[in-house]
Amino acid sequence: MTQVLLNALVVGTTYALIALGITIIFSIMKVVNFAHGQLYMIGGFVVYYFNVVFGLPFWFGLLMSFVIVGALGIAMELFLFRPVMLRVKREEVTMLLAMGTAVFLESLALIVFGEKQRGVPPIATGIVELFGARLPTGRVVVIVVAALLIVALMLFIGYTKTGRALRAMAQDRDATALQGVNLKWLSAMGFGLGTGLAGLAGGLLVAIFAVHTGAGTAVSIKAFLMIMIGGAGVLSGAILGGFVLGVLESVGYALLPGSMTFLIIFLIVIGFLIVRPHGIMGKPWG
């Protein structure tokens, strides 16, 4: 059972990191980024290329995964989402745009990166034994880094000027604009931050898992589950949602026959949303 709980902790931490990026974009732009999983996948490949192909340190690759995927996100905001959002008011259009982008990125990645799965050399070797459960050192490093990143992000959003402006924009765009904040710059920046986090998550997790070009859609679906559980658009909700899904998955696999686990998780989530339509932490929204 210790192993199951430890599994839940690892899975939960990585999921929380995945959910944060999609939540930031949703809270400030009201866009559900269906391409989140694909950006995660690209982040993984960026690290692979810097680390394995170019032979540079893993941590440098990780930094680049944030920078490159973040830049990609800023470009997406400037050239795709902004022009469309200026012209149409229906929220469905941005969702569709994100879906189109997801297919586009995935098929482009297949051509550029090839069909094989990729991994990087282990960042740490050895195994920690904890109350009879096994935890590879690489995983310890990854969850510590993930936790640090989550804390750093919360501090950034909570206490810096830009972070406060982002929060204000999430609550009320117009009022924020009246305060003299440059909304254009801010929303591009927020979008870049959200996608950058997706890249960072992919880049970090490639150290213990692996990545291939088709990995995106499944990651996106899981990210949706998390933000539905936690409440869309609330950062604390995303973290909570990540952990809840991690626990459900780990405990479910331990107690149920495998094929039933996700069916039951889906049913729980559907039932839960009926009772609590805005997730655990979410606010009523459109």
Binding site: N7, V52, S107, E115, G119, P122, A218, I221, Y253
Partner: protein, 401 residues
Amino acid sequence: MKSSGIKVTLLVRALALATTAGTFALISLAQANETLKIGALGVMSGPFAGWGGVMCQTSKTRAAMWNDDGGVAIGDKTYNIEVVCVDDKGDPKGAQTGAEKLVSEGIKYIQGPNTDSTAESAKAVMEANGTINMPYAFSKSLYKAPASQSILGMVASYQVGPVIYKWLMDNKGIKKIAFVCENNADPLNQRNEGTAAAKTLGLEVVSDQETYESGTTDFFPVLTKVIGTSPDHIVLSGVNPSDVGPLIKAARELGFTGTMSTETGQDPRAIFEVAGEAANGFIVAGGASTEAIRSDFMVKFIERYTKDWGEWNDVAGLYVYGPEIIVQTLQSTPKALDDTEAFKAALDSFVGKNPFLKEGGELKYVGRQDYGQSRQVSVPIVVQAVKDGAYEPLFVGKLPD
């Protein structure tokens, strides 16, 4: 570097195209080669793009090699081979449309599709139009009568599974076996067949209900339970290439020390890259391109494939049997060019040469034991183990007639 590799590849291909065109123009002055079109229908985009994509690339490369040698002599004419690839997106609707597209172009021989649901949907078109296809799917109703148009292009998991388990019992003394697979149609079927075979052999099946969802990143949760039943051997049934490395790595990190295997073709370098030394000893039944057994011709093919597509994929060593046996059969029965009934009639008696193995050997159609008719390519059963990013063969077996 891959991207520059692609540019170079494109350049090379453009040059090759220009050269071919030039040569073609020259040849056509003397004697015009006719064109023989062969189809490749499979999933070439989305999460399972690896299956059909490699299949298409393999056939194109093999065709280019034939054409560079001046074409293929069938009957009293010489043909250039043209491969038409159609992406079915892994969607049964797409598979049917794609099959119709190939049929409408007058194509009689098609490689693919790659999954049960797409192959079953394409079957209706194949049967109705008398087109021959070569699926890489294990659903038995594709090959058993009344179906007659599909020929299994590889060794089915239910054929190779027992062979591997038997070998493991004799050589590694395994007694308890566990199965784990993705919660999806093809893998689940292969698991069920594997479990049945293991039971027949007298193995104790300690775990056969654990599955994971497509796209799982962390396999610790599911494997924790499997390893908790303390098996001697774990089978990864019908595993998607992208999950093999992570699964092996997770099993080893959880302290599993027994043996592991899968029955579908895999690329050893990709597994090794993800799982590292933990991948050593992983048993795979698959391609016939292992260094110890491959012929010089296979080496040439590998070189050409690498030049065309940037990187070798071991699964291509399996797919290349498809166009090879189709063309060889046509050479032996030229009438089959327009008449697939003649092709089917030749299946029982056809014996060709296997150019891919060092020791040569026969290339023929088998499957009478499993399907009641000869609807399977006699791909050798090569059981091999991963060793530092390459394969070392454990043993080579033959499919029963």
